[in-house]
Symmetry: C2
Subunit: 134 residues, 2 copies
């Protein structure tokens, strides 16, 4: 049984599942921010995945990148695997804008999240789900 890290669980909303990865929306209304977590135990690095899993994850990441770009535009898309604090493998996808709070620095560790209101959250989840078709 796959078990999501408790910090990822606390910081995000589970919005669905792709073939390999759970799709999480970071609960920070300042940035459209999706995290993919392959539902596999004991994976900490890309290199811990089998070749076919790496390809699937790469395809899933590209899908998320395309959807975020199409939906929100933005100045650049930050895609990152860090794992310094939460070691369970997870891949960030964050739309960045020139007027966002952390610009042009990285968002990680910059400032506390601003949670979505229930209405904002419903709307964001709905548009992302529709675009990803999950």
């Amino acid at each position: 049984m796959f078990c999501l890290d408790s910090r990822l669980k606390n910081d995000t909303i589970n919005i669905g599942k792709l073939q390999l990865s759970r799709v999480l929306l970071m609960n920070d209304s300042r940035y459209p921010w999706i995290i993919l977590v392959p539902e596999l135990d004991n994976v900490y690095e890309w290199t811990d995945l089998y070749n076919e899993q790496q390809i699937t994850l790469h395809d899933e990441s590209l899908l998320i990148q395309k959807v975020l770009k199409d939906l929100y535009g933005g100045q650049s898309l930050n895609v990152g695997k860090l794992g310094n604090i939460v070691s369970q493998f997870h891949l960030h996808h964050i739309v960045r804008f020139e007027n966002d709070p952390a610009w042009p620095g990285p968002v990680w560790g910059h400032s506390s999240p601003v949670n979505y209101s229930p209405q904002e959250l419903e709307s964001r989840i709905s548009e992302i789900r529709q675009a990803i078709r999950i």
Copy 2:
């Protein structure tokens, strides 16, 4: 003719070429840090690459990740495409240690680099080139 962004050029040492990407070593002796830059014009996002180029870049990134992990170990490997400051597509690979200056935060924007000495640089480039076989 492909032209490397001047900031990337200033901050790194060119250590070779893979099938698609130029391999750059960040001139910061505090972190083993390799940047891949596909030698293509007008590429800003993964989604700007053609499908086959995406696959090649993904394979080249996995090679770099494996080499860095094998050579330097570390607590985690940070792999990131940001592009907030330098928009030319470039993919970071950074070995992170629990006692490195930025731990557990991201390295980007944390502090000024500490350049390699000529001897350190020669040794690092040599071991990486040998491992990548370029």
